[in-house]
């Protein structure tokens, strides 16, 4: 487990040191609302290691204890791979927290900016963030 998450630490450190924004095939504002940050804590049910975005599916318990099915958009596999992620970095059953932003057109879709691992390490997930806070201006916001 320690080895499996080492790459995450490197990736996260690289991002936070350089502050290099990641990239989506679309403008951030075309899909997500920067005014609606969200934190999702749940169980990974599926990972799609696909272009143009990696998708992480999460089951998240709501206030009543009912499981809600969420999907989170991340960066492209190319970008994540060069930062240290692999297609096996996350698997069904992993407990994670995803910090990101709600989609404009769907109430169970979010843009993931950062994944917090069970041991508390925070790692960048290379999600669409042209226009995210502190990043390049996006005229659509």
């Amino acid at each position: 487990m320690r080895t499996r998450y080492f790459c995450f630490l490197t990736a996260g450190a690289a991002f936070f040191l350089t502050g290099v924004p990641a990239f989506a095939h679309h403008s951030f504002a075309a899909e997500f609302d920067v005014k609606q940050p969200i934190t999702l804590k749940g169980t990974v049910t599926k990972v799609e290691w696909t272009n143009p975005h990696v998708w992480i599916y999460l089951d998240v318990a709501d206030a009543q204890g009912n499981l809600q099915h969420w999907q989170c958009e991340n960066g492209a596999p190319n970008t994540l791979a060069r930062m240290g992620w692999t297609r096996n970095s996350l698997k069904a059953g992993d407990q994670v927290t995803v910090e990101g932003f709600r989609a404009k057109n769907d109430d169970k879709t979010a843009n993931a900016r950062q994944v917090i691992l069970p041991d508390g390490r925070k790692v960048f997930s290379g999600s669409a963030e042209d226009g995210g806070p502190g990043k390049a201006k996006d005229s659509g916001q």
């Binding site: 290099v20 924004p21 990641a22 990239f23 095939h25 679309h26 403008s27 504002a29 075309a30 899909e31 799609e48 696909t50 272009n51 143009p52 975005h53 998708w55 999907q71 958009e73 492209a76 596999p77 190319n78 970008t79 791979a81 060069r82 989609a103 404009k104 057109n105 769907d106 879709t109 042209d130 226009g131 990043k135 390049a136 201006k137 996006d138 005229s139 659509g140």
Partner: protein, 244 residues
């Protein structure tokens, strides 16, 4: 007694071996100094060789660092009205257009031949072919997403001149506009063996009152290979109507 001295003996032997290796390396570097480490490589025709996989910076806003762009009234009105939440063509996996393609942070690979240069882009897995055999643009080319490019050498700088664009793209992610009168001039020069100086000039009399130039630096990545990028593979933005 024998065991007591053994570590020292091994250390001494290791030191001697290192000294011999260092001396050999030193002699080698003096006799066959590799010029490639000090000078940028050149092709047999004498032109600087731009071949390689280059890491390119993400430039979502081409005005950053150069101030407000010299908009015409049309250009300014179009930029102010642009809202990617209403429509962003790249979310539908349509081609980025030349400048927005060069602005992506995914690497590109240049293959240089004496009469032709190919630029392969990882993002969208697309390409630009640049003839450098002295030809001019075709007359009245059909408008395309990536335009028509021809190149020539200005000393050690490759100059790529592109026209013939359609008006369906944006210059960058934040949506700086252009028209079908867009004329793009790109200048590539090897600043040093590991870096490529890149300048892109945007000339579009419908959108801007005068040409303007954005500069950046590409970094050689000898160990990188371009990867597959299928924008349509799992584009849930469109299939699940997450974008318009």
């Amino acid at each position: 007694m024998k065991n007591h001295f053994r570590p020292y003996l091994i250390s001494a032997m290791a030191c001697a071996a290192l000294l011999i290796l260092a001396a050999a390396a030193s002699a080698q570097s003096e006799s066959v100094a590799p010029p490639v480490e000090r000078n940028s490589p050149r092709l047999p025709d004498g032109k600087p060789d731009l071949t390689g996989v280059w890491e390119i910076p993400y430039v979502p806003d081409m005005s950053k660092g150069i101030g407000p762009l010299p908009f015409t009234a049309w250009g300014e009105a179009d930029f102010k009205a642009y809202d990617p939440a209403k429509f962003d063509y790249t979310a539908h996996c349509l081609p980025s257009g030349l400048t927005r393609q060069m602005n992506t942070p995914m690497p590109l690979e240049i293959f240089q031949m004496p009469k032709r240069v190919a630029i392969l882009f990882e993002a969208w897995n697309t390409f630009v072919i640049v003839p450098t055999d002295g030809r001019d643009h075709p007359k009245d080319p059909d408008p395309t997403w990536m335009g028509n490019s021809v190149g020539h050498w200005d000393g050690d700088t490759l100059v790529v001149d592109s026209i013939g664009f359609n008006d369906k793209t944006r210059l960058d992610t934040i949506g700086h506009p252009h028209s079908d009168q867009l004329h793009v001039i790109q200048r590539f020069s090897r600043a040093d063996p590991l870096h490529l100086a890149y300048e892109v000039t945007v000339d579009d009399p419908k959108a801007y009152t005068k040409p303007w130039t954005n500069k950046r630096v590409f970094t050689l990545k000898p160990k990188w290979e371009l990867m597959e990028y299928s924008c349509e593979e799992n584009n849930k933005e469109v299939t699940e109507h997450l974008v318009k």
